[in-house]
């Protein structure tokens, strides 16, 4: 690869709003909460930002969320955009921020996203979110919620590889245990495999507790050039080492394989750019809209062979002491899922892990990390690899 983002930029500030049920705060105000925390963390002022990259918010009327939020914050950036590739947007925000800084379009970019899906949606917007996300001619007339697209991939995975309902449930159990040690997590009470299997069907093979949460909340990050991070004397910059994306289809019936996804390609690009392999990764944030999603991603990201994701989870490999501790904050399943911003919480957790700030959640010796975001029934895939100064 002749051109590379490796080590050219760093995350120097991270912050998030309160998450879960946060009534009375608009997406813009939740974004402002997160931005205030991220700027404080970076030791910068809002006037130090010259770029804003955002994902739009369902509960906000603004089509140009990044522009509306700049006005709300009282800044006039010289670089701004919204990205929209569903759940994969989070990782693309970091990939694009790194590229924009490396290419000279901006020096210090605020990456921000917030939404209030739990308390901020009118009934009309809530219904639209359910029915308008799939194709109106070829999919939605048959009553296919977005959950159904993920469910069909999971059933196929169970059919091809013998993955069990109990193995799916284990993902939820493990992530809930992680959330139990995360201050502010939306769901912290421990659950068992039996609790998941008895939580009622949503769409087979998924029960209620196999599904991610619906939340309010947002997160924000300050990304700048490695030179500026050094000039500012940032104690623990978290470097962006590699990024990759892949878009294999729009319609679920045109997904090339239901069990092997574009995460194979997106992560391969990211690993190549970062100059590392799956076995080198110390801690990961893996998009977890449903339990089966995690099992398939553990395979496609290269943490275990194809078809062995269920056993990998069952053997404790995605938690402390295992091969790759994942979603140590509790993920979309138990920490919070506010839509497109949901995967930004994985980044927030990973930044804290790489700075060694996670207390009882800390993964010992975490230097190299991967975050993978996806969306649209596995249509959109984006991977970002991050590391400490020691990994440069």
């Amino acid at each position: 690869m002749s051109r590379s983002l490796r080590g050219q930029t760093a995350i120097i500030g991270t912050g998030r709003s309160q998450v879960g049920r946060v009534p009375g705060r608009s997406p813009l105000l939740l974004a402002a909460d997160a931005t205030r925390a991220a700027l404080a963390d970076a030791g910068l002022r809002k006037t130090d930002l010259d770029g804003v990259l955002a994902c739009s918010a369902l509960a906000s009327p603004f089509h140009r969320f990044s522009v509306a939020f700049s006005e709300y914050l009282g800044i006039q950036p010289t670089f701004s955009n919204n990205l929209q590739v569903s759940g994969a947007t989070a990782a693309t925000l970091f990939n694009v921020a790194a590229a924009a800084i490396a290419g000279g379009l901006a020096e210090t970019i605020l990456v921000v996203g917030a939404d209030s899906l739990l308390t901020g949606l009118t009934p009309d917007l809530a219904l639209r979110s359910l029915t308008e996300s799939r194709d109106q001619q070829y999919e939605m007339p048959f009553g296919i919620p977005v959950a159904n697209t993920f469910a069909m991939t999971a059933l196929r995975h169970m059919h091809e590889y013998g993955t069990t309902a109990e193995q799916l449930a284990m993902v939820a159990v493990i992530e809930r245990a992680h959330a139990g040690r995360t201050p502010g997590a939306q769901m912290a009470a421990p659950i068992t495999v039996g609790d998941v299997l008895n939580s009622g069907w949503v769409t087979t093979p998924y029960h209620k507790l196999d599904c991610s949460l619906i939340s309010d909340g947002g997160a924000a990050f300050v990304v700048t050039s490695a030179e500026r991070a050094r000039a500012l004397g940032v104690a623990k910059p978290v470097y962006i080492l590699g990024g990759g994306e892949c878009y294999t289809h729009e319609h679920i019936f045109l997904m090339p394989s239901l069990t092997t996804t574009g995460a194979v390609q997106s992560s391969a690009k990211a690993y190549a750019m970062a100059g590392c392999a799956p076995a080198d990764i110390d801690v990961a944030g893996v998009y977890d809209c449903f339990t089966g999603t995690v099992i398939m991603m553990l395979e496609d990201l290269g943490f275990c062979p194809k078809g062995e994701g269920g056993r990998f989870v069952e053997d404790g490999q995605m938690t402390y002491g295992g091969a790759i501790p994942c979603n140590t904050h509790g993920g979309l399943l138990s920490f919070a899922h506010s839509g497109m911003p949901g995967s930004l919480f994985h980044f927030d957790e990973i930044v804290h892990q790489l700075r060694g700030e996670c207390g009882e959640r800390q993964v010992e010796g975490a230097e190299l990390a991967l975050v993978h975001s996806l969306g649209g029934g596995f249509a959109t895939q984006a991977t970002t690899i991050l590391g400490t100064a020691a990994t440069l």
Binding site: P123, D124, L127, R128, L130, T131, Q136, Q137, Y138, E139, M140, P141, F142, G143, I144, P145, A147, N148, A151, M152, T153, L155, R156, H159, G200, W201, V202, T203, T204, P205, Y206, H251, I252, F253, L254, L258
Partner: protein, 142 residues
């Protein structure tokens, strides 16, 4: 969205690419696009072949036979319009001609669906204007 609309199911609104598909559906034919340049067969209607880019596409009626590639039985409906139908089985059908399509099961208990189950096409006239392609277990199949 008008609150009253929430109670009615979304229906396909044909566009320039799909008008022929939905018109033929009313006459009891499911049209597939066959590429005369490379032989690729596609269900999703578009002006060019996804495999080779040729615009030499010919409509041919599908046999209506296929099998279930995957499925999911919906217990929590996506909105009030589908609530009365739950539980219902959404199918990802692979037609014998190759293309896959989303549909739903009729004339059978949704809990009886299995991957690889043989199915056959049924034309379901849902309004004067719209006929939807649905599937039932193939006759002669278990």
């Amino acid at each position: 969205m008008n609150p009253a609309d929430a109670l009615s199911k979304p229906l396909p609104a044909p566009d320039a690419d799909s008008a022929a598909l939905w018109a033929a559906m009313r006459e009891g034919r499911l049209l597939l696009q066959h590429c005369l340049a490379c032989g690729h067969v596609q269900y999703y209607q578009q002006g060019i072949c996804r495999a080779c880019g040729s615009d030499r596409l010919e409509h041919r009626a599908a046999s209506g036979r296929g099998h279930v590639h995957s499925y999911s039985v919906v217990h929590r409906a996506p909105g009030p319009a589908f609530k009365a139908d739950t539980p219902y089985a959404v199918l990802l059908v692979e037609l014998d001609e190759g293309p896959r399509m989303i549909s739903s099961l009729v004339d059978a208990d949704p809990s009886a669906v299995e991957i690889d189950m043989r199915v056959e096409l049924v034309f379901d006239q849902v309004t004067d204007q719209v006929t939807l392609p649905r599937f039932r277990p193939a006759s002669g199949a278990a």
